[in-house]
């Protein structure tokens, strides 16, 4: 069992959480051409290294951010979306 520390609920089994993938900048709908939309929709960060991702604690429906290493699977920190994103 792997633990993920939820900023609201504390350390919980990672099975209680759902990954929503790496954070992506939201394009301006009025000033974005098709290629950039395509990029936004289909290309997510996948480099070997640390990513900032959206996660959701399913029972409490709470969304938050986590910094995780895509190679070692180490969860470096978790924080509320209102906090500064650091590496993002």
């Amino acid at each position: 069992m792997k633990l993920l520390t939820c900023p609201m609920n504390g350390p919980r089994n990672i099975d209680e959480f759902q990954s929503f993938g790496p954070v992506r900048a939201r394009p301006d709908p009025n000033a974005t051409a098709d290629p950039e939309w395509s990029r936004h929709l289909f290309r997510a960060e996948n480099r070997q290294g640390v990513v900032v991702e959206w996660w959701r604690h399913v029972p409490s429906n709470y969304f938050f951010l986590a910094e995780r290493d895509l190679v070692s699977n180490e969860i470096i920190r978790t924080f509320d979306a209102s906090e500064p994103r650091g590496r993002a």
């Binding site: 792997k2 993938g21 790496p22 929709l41 289909f42 996948n46 991702e53 895509l70």
Partner: protein, 413 residues
Amino acid sequence: MPLRLLKYGLSRDYPVSGDIPATPALKPAYDVVIIGGGGHGLSCAHHLAKYHGIKSVAVLEKGYLAGGNTARNTTTIRSNYITPEGIAFYKEGVELFERLSQELDFNVMFSQRGQLTLAHTEATMRSFHMRAEMGKHMGTRTEVVDQKGVEELCPLINMDYGGALEILGGLWHADGGTARHDAVAWGYAAQASRRGVEIHQRTEVQGFEVVGDRVQAVKTNRGRVACGQVLIATGGMNYDVALMAGVELPIRCYPLQAMVTQPLKPWLHTLVSSVSLHTYLVQSSRGEVVIGGGSDPYQLYSTRSTLDMKVHLAEGAVHLFPFLQGVRLLRQWAGITDMTPDYSPIMGASPLANLWLDCGWGTWGFKATPVAGKRMAQTIADGRVPDILKPFALERFETFRLLNEMGATAASH
């Protein structure tokens, strides 16, 4: 008898057939450099040498031959997809498997025993009807069977789990089968090296020399190699390798986990797959029951296994065949799958003129080993993409012409 055996062993008429030649010295240049010594890369090398007369070919493999996803997949061969483009392509793949042992002069133990996919909901049954009609239209053997049909095809199956997730019917794909994955890779490697292809193991690509819109050379841990054409066929590492050339692919990597039981007498005579349980089973010719395939629920570059996923796979298997509950597991493993947004591969051109892609094979690559190699070899030899591969182009994401095969891919949704 021992004397005759000895005589046979020493006879000049039957020389010892060499395995794959040892890794030779790296030449300064090749007409074609194939990155990735797995099934797809070796298949492409074979087709280049045999059918296109291109013999100055180097296959560069970071580890050992076919040690990545070629060794880790669960050997399902089928063409019961849902898009006409997908079915046409995979159908050719199944047909190539049907005569692969002859083509390679090597027994790949292809067993066309059929695949049975189970439905536990009415919604799945409706999608099966659509897949069956598409399959028939495209000339494959795919049909919907009812509960009685499931019991006839697979008499040992547990039709209802005490009321929960009852089996309502299935999709019967008589063209489906399985083959020995190592034999496929070794067969292609032996044929290719016999025709002059060089296979360089322990040769890691570390970068590309790009000048204008062409790859001038590939940089490896054993030196620089100039290249006419380059193919990327590196399975779980496709995103990373393409990125070194400045090409960002719409790929996210997830581990896919599988396992096998101890050997049992033959009892499972078809491939069985359940969409709702995310579990599929096939009995290998050694008698082991191969159980796949659980995708991890978040991105990761790792081949570690997790107890959670193994328990999940075991639960699915025991649901379908309760008598498996006392059976022991022999091995378990994971591979890194390069998942695309639409569950279809990315084949064909890249933004660089002489860099070709055979990527995005996610959880569905083994069945396409012969056909992807054949069609990519044709692409490289002709310098243009054949019609059958055009729908799989990288540009489809920019033009929003996706090939959605998510519903026809059992592993991870």
